[in-house]
């Protein structure tokens, strides 16, 4: 293993000391949500104890302090994903909210009946359903680029599906059900050659790798705070400034306006045009704290360490007879989705839980992926930077034992 400060990192996450059913917690459900470092937990408490008030509202000291912290967090996000301007960073509730924003604002303004939206067969429901709703509203058509048996996007077919009618491509950066990391730069190049904007669903990718929106040249990038070691209820929509400027507001309310009369309303500048109402102030500020923590560890180190974890887990999983990995893309993030010959994923989940191991069992909000692989569900171990090789051994021992019990 590389020189990764795993001991220190584990000490930074208080919940990892927790006992589950009298066993040390082995938390492998990070693709659902990940645990929080003490820095994040304490920053939340410190904020409410010392610095909290509404933002962009008052002249009083606390409001100014809170606003500075809130805008400071936006600047941290900007740097973290290397956006050009803070105007391109819209705080939203999460990835789902971000995608719905694009569907309802960009989509309703720019996409017409008969136009096409292109997604892939490995999308999370949150990158399927908002487009289906939009298509129903305006009569557009949803196209789906297929995947292969390894769980990789069929890039040629994706290209063939780009047409003169395609108005938007929305693709997952890293699949939550399979772990597949899509060749997004290549896809963006192909779409841009036809002047088609691209949204990347970065919910899974963002905690695992360095993301540079200028380098990717994506038009939108959506992610959630809670998968990035920050609280729930906060997420980010990155959008290129010229695109966001051309888009109508998504929701109306306070903060998103400059001037309101009963006759007409003048909207606020970016990014506030898209931030109606009091935002998730504390959660946004603490997202900044989580980013500080990650920047300190280094995203490249995180990616390298997790790649070693995944390689080890995959190697060990291959040794287990009757275990089939679902999702074996060449380029893959730290997710091990699997099924066993004679044990249903739900039974795997309950059995492992009794050993203190938290894995997800189910369809992972990706029912079309389950249908493609002809499984009702999978068990999924998803890793974070605080997981260890020892924990993978515990997982594999657990799997071997439950296979024996089920005979």
């Amino acid at each position: 293993m590389t020189q990764f400060p795993i001991q220190k990192i584990r000490e930074d996450f208080p919940i990892l000391q927790e006992k589950i059913r009298n066993k040390p917690l082995v938390y492998l459900d990070n693709a659902a949500t990940c645990q929080k470092p003490a820095a994040v937990i304490e920053a939340m408490s410190h904020l409410y104890r010392h610095d909290y008030a509404n933002v962009h509202r008052g002249v009083h000291t606390l409001s100014v302090r809170s606003t500075d912290l809130y805008e400071g967090a936006r600047e941290k996000v900007r740097q973290f994903i290397n956006a050009r301007s803070h105007k391109e960073i819209v705080f939203v509730k999460g990835t789902t909210d971000a995608i719905n924003l694009v569907a309802q604002s960009f989509g309703r303004a720019q996409i017409k009946a008969g136009d096409e939206i292109l997604i892939t067969a490995m999308e999370h429901h949150s990158n399927i359903v908002p487009w289906q709703i939009l298509c129903q509203q305006i009569g557009a058509v949803l196209k789906v680029a297929p995947i292969n048996q390894k769980g990789e996007l069929q890039v040629e077919q994706f290209e063939n599906l780009l047409s003169d009618k395609t108005r938007l491509v929305s693709v997952v950066h890293m699949s939550n059900a399979l772990g597949t990391i899509n060749p997004v730069k290549q896809l963006i190049d192909k779409a841009h050659a036809r002047n088609i904007p691209v949204l990347l669903d970065g919910a899974q990718a963002i905690p695992h790798m360095r993301v540079d929106v200028q380098d990717l040249d994506c038009d939108f990038y959506a992610f959630s705070g809670h998968k990035l070691y920050a609280p729930t209820g906060i997420g980010v929509l990155y959008g290129k400034q010229e695109l966001l400027e051309s888009m109508p507001p998504y929701q109306g309310g306070g903060d998103m306006i400059r001037k309101v009369t009963f006759e007409e309303t003048e909207y606020n500048d970016l990014p506030y045009k898209f931030e109606a109402g009091t935002p998730a102030i504390a959660e946004a500020i603490v997202l900044g704290t989580a980013i500080d923590y990650l920047v300190d560890v280094g995203m490249d180190s995180v990616a390298a360490y997790e790649a070693e974890l995944l390689a080890y887990a995959t190697e060990q999983a291959h040794k287990i007879k009757g275990l089939r990995i679902i999702g074996e893309a060449e380029n893959k993030g730290a997710i091990l989705s699997f099924v066993l010959d004679n044990v249903h994923p739900h039974d795997i989940g309950t059995m492992l839980d009794s050993l203190g191991i938290a894995v997800r069992a189910g369809h992972h909000c990706a029912m079309p992926v389950m249908d493609f692989f002809q499984v009702p569900a999978t068990a999924r171990a998803s890793f974070a930077m605080y997981n260890t090789v020892d924990e993978i051994d515990i997982l594999m021992d657990g799997i071997k034992s439950l296979i024996e019990v089920f005979g």
Binding site: T350, A361, P376, F406, G407
Partner: protein
């Protein structure tokens, strides 16, 4: 290694999971209802053959976890020979036993079905055990051709 789970996964459950009873299609079934649990993907089709108000044959097809497979397997065994009313009464009792609302459910009176009482300690798994019975309920009431638990 799995001592904590002995109440949930009793030997009878493993047995029915490995060798489900009445796992077949009844071609001339009077009632055929699909049951689906979208949360975990459990899916079964229940076939009922009636003679008047008496259940003369019951079978199923489908795939699910050990709890749901054992539950439907045991159910098809136990309801055979019962009247619709008797089966409905058993459904009520089974529901009470697995949701734990009535701690005093007489487990002895539940016969073999008592092996599924353990699920009440596992709220996430209750629906695995009750899917079969909700499907039966729909079949007996003859109202729907598919039901879904969530």
């Amino acid at each position: 290694m799995f001592d904590d789970l002995r109440d949930l996964y009793q030997e009878v459950i493993f047995d029915h999971n490995r060798n489900p009873r009445n796992f077949r299609v009844i071609e001339d079934a009077d009632r055929t209802v699909e049951g689906f649990n979208p949360l975990c993907g459990d899916r079964l089709t229940l076939y009922i053959k009636l003679d008047g108000d008496k259940i003369v044959d019951a079978s199923f097809q489908g795939s699910g976890c050990a709890i749901s497979t054992a539950s439907v397997s045991l159910m098809t065994e136990i309801i055979k020979g019962k009247t619709i009313d008797e089966a409905e009464e058993l459904f009520e009792k089974f529901h009470e036993m697995t949701t734990g609302k009535d701690e005093d459910v007489q487990l002895e009176a539940m016969g073999k079905l008592a092996v599924l009482a353990g699920v009440r300690e596992y709220p996430a798994r209750v629906k695995c055990a009750t899917l079969a019975w909700h499907t039966l309920d729909a079949a007996l009431k003859n109202q729907e051709t598919s039901i879904s638990t969530e």
